[in-house]
């Protein structure tokens, strides 16, 4: 196998005395679609924050495409090719839907602030190109009718979708989705599964998915890693995870052999 796209080796995050992520090893290959699950407080979101540079590892390392991410600030990690969404949606309160995508689409373009004043032809063309691509992305995800709507007044499901579009606008190679199905109704969850599969296919991406809805995780992931108390307790294809006694115990406590992943 060639260089993995993402490699966490013995990565550990501590808050004071609490070890939130404990010696985590996780490897993602090109174009994989992997799920990261675990009970509440297992350290899933902390792992995301570690990968995206919001937290620094106490020990261990994170490498992206063979390059260590240590010391890179979050926006540089985005520039390197990792984009994410947030568990509690984080949109910009005063920007319209289109502006969310434009501002993120600005990334791979060298426009110094002063160029906004002189507005040479090259600057205007690159502005137009960013806007055009933002509009294409909106159209691709059925958001174009909300183009000028303030993002805060979008319906909930569309807000989640907009976060994904904003992440895609940065042209990532790895997309981290933090509970994209939270708060969605069953119909929306079905649509989300289709959306994730489409994004995975059409954008030529690797996806790491944190999700509580087993229907979604089992439906789309090729491989699943399970965290409990910061430690990885299992990893494998969905069918194996479904039957793994350690996983069942982590979710329901001992003495529950119920098939839990069928609701």
């Amino acid at each position: 196998m060639s260089t993995p796209l993402l490699q966490l080796s013995q990565a550990t995050v501590r808050f004071g005395g609490l070890t939130a992520v404990d010696a985590l090893d996780l490897t993602l290959g090109q174009r994989e679609l992997v799920g990261l699950i675990g009970p509440n407080g297992a350290g899933k979101t902390t792992a995301f924050n570690l990968i995206t540079g919001l937290y620094a590892p106490a020990s261990g390392s994170v490498a992206f495409a063979g390059r260590p991410l240590a010391g890179l600030s979050p926006h540089r990690i985005v520039a390197a090719g990792i984009a994410r969404t947030f568990q509690n949606i984080r949109l910009f309160g005063s920007l319209s839907v289109l502006d969310h995508v434009r501002v993120a689409g600005n990334l791979h373009r060298a426009a110094a602030p002063w160029q906004a004043l002189i507005r040479l032809r090259a600057f205007r063309e690159s502005e137009a190109a960013v806007t055009r691509r933002a509009e294409e992305l909106l159209a691709l995800f059925n958001l174009e009718r909300f183009r000028n709507t303030p993002a805060r007044s979008l319906p909930y499901g569309e807000q989640r979708r907009l976060e994904i579009v904003r992440a895609l606008a940065t042209r990532p190679r790895l997309l981290l989705l933090d509970e994209p199905a939270a708060g969605l109704n069953p119909q929306e969850k079905i649509e989300l599964v289709a959306l994730i599969q489409r994004v995975h296919r059409e954008f030529d991406l690797t996806i790491l998915l944190v999700e509580h809805s087993m229907k979604v995780v089992m439906g789309v992931c090729q491989r699943i890693a399970v965290l409990d108390h910061g430690k990885k307790i299992a990893e494998g294809p969905p069918d194996a995870i479904r039957r793994d006694p350690a996983v069942i115990e982590a979710y329901l406590g001992p003495d529950h052999a119920t098939a839990l992943f069928h609701h």
Binding site: F15, G16, T45, N49, L54, F86
Partner: protein, 297 residues
Amino acid sequence: MLTEFLQQLVNGLSLGAIYALIALGYTMVYGVLRFINFAHSDVFMVGAFAGLYLAPLAPAGSILGGLVVVGGAMLASALLGVAIERLAYRPLRQAPTLNVLITAIGVSCLLQSAGQLVFGAAPRSFPVIFPARALSVGGLDFSSNQVVVLVFAAILVIGLRLIVFHTRMGAALRAVSQNPRAARLMGIDNDVVIRFTFALGSALAGAGGVLYAVNYPTIDPLMGVLPGLKAFVAAILGGIGSIPGAALGGLLLGLVETFVGGSQYSTYKDAIAFALLILFLLFRPAGLLGKARIEKV
């Protein structure tokens, strides 16, 4: 040389004690509401003026008279603090911090400008309220007023500590400043605690105002601005939210300022507090005795 040093030490401590009294109010309000009560420095000013108007009613130059004046000023300041909280801050309990901060600046400006209308803009001389004597011990010259300031400040800080750590209200105050949500679930009425905090902090500022006026005997409606800002710096130095920290920060700042004031750099005295502020916020935002916080994402 040594005498001069000790002399400056006494002067520095008595200035620092006043910073400490004001700083306590900032730190307590920050503890429960997480914002800088800009108007606190003007409560200090109003306390001094309350003292000015109460002084003729009390026997001049006696310990008892002094106590009455300080007590009255503390009461007046406490009432003002509670009124400010009720009218200006409580309606903004759910608003963004910045809105509250701006409101606090507005209240501060209002007290200053209203003070200039009501009390007059010109400096007024403050009457003698405590027995005033020049003392000389081992070549050290100080006034009895400096002693009064130090004794008062010590009593008030100890009293505050007793209230915070040994009363039900104090326990509620600590609970709210640690976690307002959980405190509410435990049946604590946050509004009552916040009102109490304002009353307590404002009373201390009022006492500080009178004690300041006793030592620097002219007062005016803008007198609170610099001591107030510096006291806030003292609160940050000590670690905002920490009561011993505020006392420590106040004393330290008073000492540093007095020693610099006695040196050839005396004209830079007013800049020191702000330089310290910037250094601390950049390199040790938790202050000397405070704890760092982790931001949750």
